[in-house]
Subunit: 385 residues, 2 copies
C-alpha cells in the first residue's frame, strides 16, 4: 500500500429536499453566483425554478451560463469565465451531472486567467486562482460532485483532456436522489456503466495489499449491479436512486484509490472515441471494458480477475482459473448489454472504422495496470467495433 | 436511508514515516503544543524522541500531559486543561490510541471552561471553545483519530460517559502503521474486537435500504478477520498493520453510519463494565457481543443475521434461517475467543457477579436496534459471566 493523504473536504448534504441547504451554503462562500446548467431539463422538471426561487428569497444575485454540452467544450469554459469577470462572480453553482460540474470547475480557474482556458487544461499555463464550486447533482455517474477532476473537449483539435487540481473539488455538494427520478433509461444505464468503470480502473491496479479498498470497491460494484436494473424499471424508486447516487461519488472521490492509485486505461481509450465522435461517455466505457478485460487477462492478472468474478459476481471459483476469470468478464458483458441495454459495438453508436487507427495512434499507455501501445489499443478498438 | 450530512474534515497522512508531516501541520494551527501521551511506551519505542526532535528542529514549543490512563479520567482532563491555560497552549497533539486521543479531545474543550470538565461530559455545561487536536496514532482500535467522539471515566461515581461534538474531530491524523508494530498481542486482539464492534453496532440497525454502507461494513469486518490473525503472528507485517489501521478509522468516522445511524447497544453495556472494573474496552465488547447477538436474534432480526453470516463469514445460506444465523454468531465467538485469544467470560477478567445487577440497573436502552430493559441487560451480563 502506497503512502497517501486523505483530504476529502466536500460537505455533502444528501437526501430528500436538501436543496434547502443551498442559500446558506452559497452565502458561506460568496455573494454573486454563476449558475451553470446544460439544456432545458432543469427548467422542465422544476429544479431551475426551485433554485432561482431560493436565490430570490435569500437575496442572492446570479448570472447564468447555460447550454453546457454533454462533452463540455473549451469555448464554453471561456464564455463562462468572461461572464464571471464581467459580473464579479465569486461562487459557481453547477446544476447537473458531470458535464456541467466539470465545466463549472474549469470556469472556476479560467476566471483568473486572461488567455484561453484550454492552455490550463493542456498544462501550458498554471491556474492562479479558483472560485469555490457548489454542485447540485441531477445525474449519478461521473462523481464530479466530490472529486478534483474534470474533462474538457476541444472540438477544433479533436482532443478531450482531463485536469485535476485539489482546489477544484466542490466545497459543497447537494445530492437529492429525487432529482434523478426523471433521468432517462439511456442516461441511467450509461451513468451506471460510468460508476462501474471508475471503480474497475482502480480495482485492477498492480497494488495487491490494499485489501480494505478492494472490498469497498466490490461494495460499490455490487450496489450498481443491484440497483441499476431497479432504477431502469422503477425510475422513482428512492432506495435505488439513493444507493446509485452515493455509489457514484465514492467510486472516484479518491477514497478507493488511496494506497493503490495508478493511471487509468479504459478512460483514456474512451476519451479518444468521444473526442472524435461526441458519444456518451458511459456507453463508450461499457463497450470497451469487456474487450479490454479479455485483452489484459494473462497469467499475471488472472488471480485478480478470479477475485473479481468470485467477489463481485458470486461465480464459484473453479479449478481452472482462466475459466472463472472468463465467466466474470462474460457476466460484465451480459450486465452492460443485456441488463442495462447498452449498445454493444462501436459501430452501433456511430463510430466509423476509418478513424480507429487515428484515435489509437494518439495513445501509448504506460505505467497502467497492463501497459498498452497504440497497436494494442487498435486491437481493442477493432475487437469492440 | 435517512438524510445526512457528510463532513469528514480530518486530513490524514497515512503511511511510512508520515510523522515528517507533523511540524508543518502543527504550525498551521498554532505555536504552543500540549503533548499528550499515556505510559512510557512511546519513550521506549523512540516515538517520543522522534516527535520532540522534530519540534526542536522546527522551533515548536511544547508542554506535556503524561500518564493518561487506559480509561482516561476526568481528573486527568482537568489537569490537562490547567496546563493549557497556564501555558497559552493553542494546539493539542495526542500520541497514542483512543484513550490518549479521547483525553486530548476533552482537554481541547476543557481549556475554555473554568469548572470541572465532567460538567461538559455530563452535558451540565456546554463547551464554549475547542483547541485543534492533532492525532498521532499508535494503536488501531477506537477510530478516535478521525471521529468526533470521546469517552471519559469518573472513578468517584463509577461513570464512563461519551461525548461528541463536530469540533472535536481531529484536524489532522498521522497514521504510520509501523507505529503499531510494537503493540502487544493482547492489545492487538482487543483493538481488533473494538473495530469489529463499532462496525457491528451500525451494521445491525433498523434501516434496511443503506445497501452501499452495509457492503462497506462487510469490507471492514472481512479486513479485520483476515489481518488481525496475521498481526498476532507477525507483529511487523506492514500489510496487516496498515489494513487494520485504515479499517479502524472507517469503522467509526461516521461514513458507514450515514443514512442508517441509530444509538448503539453493546458499547453502553460495556462502558458499565469498564466504569466499575477498569477492564480493557475491546475485551468487554468481545465477551458481550455474541451473547447480545443470541439475545436479540428473533423472527424480526433473523434476515439481517443471515446476511451477516453469509456475506461476512462465507457461511452458505441454509434452508433454516435460524441455523444459518446461529452459525454466524458461532463464527464470531470462535474468532474472538479462539483466533484472537480473548478471554471468553466476564469472570475471567476480574468482574464479580455481585455487581452485575448494579451495572444493569444503570441501563435502559431504547431506540436501539432491539430495545433492552435493565432486566434484559442483566440476562446478557449473566449469560456472559
Amino acid at each position: 500500500m502506497y503512502n497517501f493523504k486523505y483530504d476529502i473536504g466536500t460537505k455533502v448534504y444528501f437526501g430528500k429536499d436538501q436543496i434547502e441547504q443551498l442559500p446558506a451554503s452559497v452565502k458561506e462562500y460568496g455573494k454573486k453566483v454563476l449558475l451553470c446548467y446544460g439544456g432545458g431539463s432543469i427548467k422542465r422538471n422544476g429544479i431551475y425554478d426551485t433554485i432561482t426561487g431560493l436565490f430570490k428569497e435569500n437575496g442572492i444575485e446570479w448570472v447564468e451560463l447555460s447550454g453546457i454540452e454533454p462533452n463540455p467544450r473549451h469555448t464554453t469554459v471561456n464564455r463562462g469565465a468572461a461572464i464571471c469577470r464581467e459580473n464579479d462572480v465569486d461562487v459557481v453553482v453547477a446544476i447537473g451531472g458531470g458535464s456541467t460540474i466539470d465545466c463549472a470547475k474549469a470556469v472556476a480557474f479560467a476566471k483568473f486567467y486572461d488567455g484561453d482556458a484550454w492552455d490550463i487544461v493542456t498544462r501550458k499555463a498554471k491556474p492562479t486562482g479558483f472560485l469555490p464550486v457548489i454542485a447540485v447533482l441531477t445525474l449519478s455517474a461521473t462523481g464530479s460532485e466530490m472529486d478534483t477532476f474534470g474533462v474538457i473537449s476541444n472540438m477544433d483539435t479533436n482532443d478531450k483532456l482531463g485536469f485535476g487540481f485539489p482546489e477544484s473539488r466542490p466545497v459543497v455538494a447537494i445530492m437529492d436522489p429525487q432529482y434523478t427520478f426523471s433521468v432517462s433509461k439511456y442516461q441511467t444505464a450509461s451513468g451506471s456503466a460510468d460508476i462501474m468503470s471508475h471503480t474497475l480502473e482502480t480495482y485492477f491496479t498492480p497494488v495487491k495489499d490494499a485489501f480494505l479498498q478492494d472490498r469497498f470497491m466490490e461494495g460499490i460494484l455490487k450496489t450498481v449491479i443491484k440497483y441499476a436494473p431497479v432504477a431502469l424499471e422503477e425510475p422513482e424508486n428512492y432506495e435505488a436512486r439513493a444507493n446509485l447516487m452515493w455509489a457514484s461519488s465514492w467510486a472516484i472521490n479518491d477514497m478507493v484509490g488511496y494506497g493503490k492509485k495508478c493511471p487509468w486505461t479504459v478512460h483514456p481509450m474512451e476519451h479518444e472515441l468521444s473526442a472524435y465522435f461526441d458519444i456518451t461517455h458511459g456507453v463508450g466505457l461499457a463497450i470497451l471494458t469487456p474487450h479490454w478485460m479479455e485483452y489484459v487477462l494473462s497469467e499475471d492478472t488472472v488471480d485478480k480477475f478470479v477475485e473479481y468474478a468470485v467477489n463481485v459476481w458470486n461465480i464459484p471459483a473453479g479449478e481452472d482459473k482462466f475459466e472463472t476469470a472468463h465467466k466474470g468478464i462474460e457476466a460484465t458483458r451480459r450486465f452492460f448489454f443485456d441488463t442495462l441495454g447498452i449498445p454493444s459495438r462501436l459501430r452501433d453508436v456511430g463510430i466509423t472504422e476509418d478513424k480507429l487507427e487515428v484515435m489509437a495512434n494518439k495513445l501509448n499507455l504506460t505505467n497502467v495496470y497492463v501497459p498498452l501501445t497504440s497497436e494494442d489499443v487498435l486491437k481493442i478498438y477493432k475487437a469492440s467495433f
